[in-house]
C-alpha cells in the first residue's frame, strides 16, 4: 500500500468525522442555518449516490461490451442485457413513464419477471422446509412447533379444522415473536450505534478497503 493511498484514506476519514459529528450535533439544535445546511448536505449526498449508480451501470456495460466483442461465454445474453439496461433508461429519461414502450417494458416484462422471481420463493420454501426444518434438538423442535402453529394460524382455512389456530398463532406472535425481535432489535441498534461511532472516529476502516482497525 503506497503512502499516497494512505493519505487519501486519511482525508476520507477526516471528512467522515466532520460531516458525521455535524449531523449528530444538528439533531439536537434548532437553528435555521445549521438545519438548512444539514438538509443541503443530505441533498448533495443523495445526488452523489445517484452518481454512484453510474459507476455500476458503467461497469456492467463495460464488462458485457467486452464479452460481446470477444464473443466470450454467453455473449448473446450480454446483448440482451445491454438492450434491457439502456433502452428503458433512455426512454425513461426522455419521455418519463408515459412512453408506451417504457410502460410496456415495465408492465409486460419487468413486472411479470419480478413476480416470477418472487413466486419462486414459494417453491424454495417448500424444498427448504423439507430439507432443513428438522427437529434435530430441543431448540429446533420448539422452533418447528411454533413455526407450524403460526403457519396454521396464517392460513385462515385451518379454522375449519380447529378455530383455536388463529388466536393461538396471534398469541405466539404478539408475545414471543414481539419479545424476541424486540431483544434482537435492541442489540442490533446498539451494535449499529457503536459501529457508526467507530466509523466516525476512524477506528473502523475496512469499508475504505483499509487494513481494518486502529
Amino acid at each position: 500500500m503506497s503512502s499516497y493511498e494512505g493519505e487519501i484514506r486519511s482525508i476520507a476519514i477526516i471528512i467522515t468525522a466532520i460531516v458525521g459529528f455535524f449531523f449528530l450535533i444538528e439533531y439536537f439544535i434548532v437553528w435555521t442555518p445549521v438545519n438548512k445546511t444539514a438538509s443541503n448536505i443530505t441533498a448533495y449526498g443523495t445526488v452523489l449516490l445517484g452518481l454512484a449508480g453510474i459507476v455500476g451501470i458503467g461497469n456492467l456495460t463495460r464488462f458485457h461490451l467486452k464479452n460481446i466483442f470477444r464473443q466470450g461465454k454467453n455473449w448473446i445474453p450480454s446483448i440482451i442485457l445491454l438492450i434491457s439496461l439502456w433502452l428503458p433508461l433512455v426512454l425513461g429519461l426522455l419521455y418519463t413513464r408515459n412512453h408506451f414502450i417504457f410502460s410496456y417494458i415495465y408492465n409486460s416484462i419487468y413486472l411479470p419477471t419480478s413476480q416470477a422471481f418472487f413466486a419462486i420463493l414459494a417453491f424454495y420454501i417448500v424444498s427448504g422446509a423439507y430439507r432443513a426444518f428438522k427437529a434435530r434438538n430441543l431448540d429446533a423442535a420448539v422452533l418447528l412447533i411454533a413455526g407450524i402453529l403460526v403457519f396454521m394460524s396464517n392460513s385462515p382455512a385451518t379454522g375449519i379444522l380447529w378455530p383455536g389456530f388463529q388466536p393461538l398463532g396471534k398469541w405466539i406472535q404478539d408475545v414471543f415473536t414481539a419479545a424476541g425481535l424486540r431483544g434482537i432489535t435492541i442489540g442490533i441498534a446498539i451494535g449499529s450505534v457503536v459501529t457508526s461511532l467507530r466509523v466516525l472516529t476512524g477506528r473502523e476502516r475496512r469499508h475504505l478497503a483499509g487494513r481494518g482497525v486502529e
Binding site: A122, F151, A178, L181
Partner: protein, 281 residues
C-alpha cells in the same frame, strides 16, 4: 422400509416443486371458496378509517415495488377504494421509484391490481377529493421534507401547479394529516421516526409477510397504529369493505400453498425421526 424412507428423505426437490405447482393450480382452475376470517389488525384499520370525520386528510405513501407487488398492490387497491368511498381528502405520494407505475396500474387494472379502480364511481373528482403528487426521491430526507412542507413538489405528478388543486389547501404540513398509510417493504423505522415520533400522526402500514413480525413491537408500543400483512391482510380487508377483488380470489392458492409447506415439514420430520429411531444418520 428404511431404504424407501431414505429415498423419501433424499427426494429430488423438483418433485416437491411439482406437488406445490399442482396444489396451487387447483384453486385457479376451480376456486374452493375457503373461508376468510378478518384478523384484529385488519378490523382495527377498517374501524379507524370508518371513524374518520368528513374531510379528514388521509395521506397514502404508495411505495410498493414490483417484487412485493402481489402483497402491497392488492392492499393499496382495497384501501384506495375504501378511502375514495368515504368523504375524505386523499393525498397520494410515492417514496419509491416504482410507485408511480403501480399507482397508474391501480387505475388501469393489471395482473397484480385486479380490476381498474374508477374514482368517479365513488363520486370523487381529481384535484378536489384526491391527488397524486408523484415520486419524491431521497429516502428518509424526503420523509422529513414532505412532512415539513407537503407542497415541496410544487406540482402534482402530471405537472399541474398545486395552487390550482383545491385539495392541497387541506394539507400544508404533517400537522394537517389525520392518518398516514404507508405501503412499503422496507424503511419502516425511518417512517416511524420522521412521521409518528416527530408529529404523532397515526401510522398504518401495509407490509409484506416477511416484514410483519418486526411490526409487532411497534404496535405494542403504540408507534404503529395497526397493519395489513401480506395478501391475507388485503383479502381480510376486502371482506370487511365488501369489495371482493384479487386478494380474496388468491386466498385459496395461499391456503393450499401454506398447507403444502406444513405437510412438507411434517413429512420431512417424520422421515427424520423414523431414520433416527432405526439408527440411521
Amino acid at each position: 422400509m428404511i431404504m424407501s424412507i431414505k429415498k423419501l428423505m433424499e427426494i429430488d426437490s423438483r418433485y416437491l416443486y411439482l406437488v406445490m405447482l399442482i396444489l396451487v393450480s387447483i384453486p385457479i382452475i376451480q376456486p374452493l371458496g375457503l373461508p376468510i376470517r378478518p384478523s384484529d389488525y385488519a378490523i382495527k384499520v377498517y374501524n379507524f378509517i370508518e371513524s374518520l370525520p368528513p374531510e379528514s386528510v388521509v395521506v397514502i405513501d404508495a411505495a410498493q415495488t414490483a417484487g412485493y407487488g402481489a402483497e402491497l398492490q392488492t392492499q393499496y387497491v382495497v384501501i384506495l377504494k375504501h378511502v375514495l368511498k368515504k368523504d375524505l381528502k386523499l393525498i397520494i405520494v410515492s417514496f419509491s421509484a416504482e410507485g408511480p407505475m403501480l399507482v397508474d396500474m391501480a387505475y388501469e387494472g393489471g395482473i397484480i391490481s385486479g380490476k381498474p379502480v374508477d374514482p368517479a364511481k365513488y363520486g370523487d373528482v381529481y384535484g378536489e377529493d384526491y391527488v397524486y403528487l408523484g415520486y419524491i426521491p431521497g429516502g428518509e430526507t424526503a420523509f422529513v421534507s414532505f412532512a415539513r412542507d407537503c407542497w415541496m413538489t410544487k406540482t402534482d405528478a402530471s405537472g399541474t401547479p398545486l395552487e390550482e388543486l383545491p385539495i392541497m389547501q387541506y394539507c400544508k404540513t404533517a400537522e394537517d394529516w389525520n392518518v398516514i398509510i404507508a405501503f412499503t417493504g422496507g424503511n419502516h423505522e425511518q417512517r416511524i421516526a420522521q412521521w409518528y415520533n416527530a408529529y404523532l400522526v397515526p401510522l398504518i402500514f401495509g407490509v409484506p409477510g416477511v416484514s410483519a413480525p418486526r411490526m409487532y413491537s411497534y404496535m405494542a408500543s403504540g408507534q404503529v397504529y395497526s397493519m395489513l400483512s401480506s395478501l391475507i391482510g388485503a383479502a381480510e380487508y376486502e371482506i370487511l369493505t365488501n369489495e371482493i377483488g384479487l386478494a380474496a380470489a388468491l386466498m385459496d392458492v395461499l391456503n393450499l400453498g401454506q398447507l403444502c409447506v406444513v405437510a412438507a415439514v411434517i413429512i420431512g420430520n417424520l422421515g427424520y425421526i423414523v431414520t433416527r429411531i432405526r439408527g440411521g444418520k
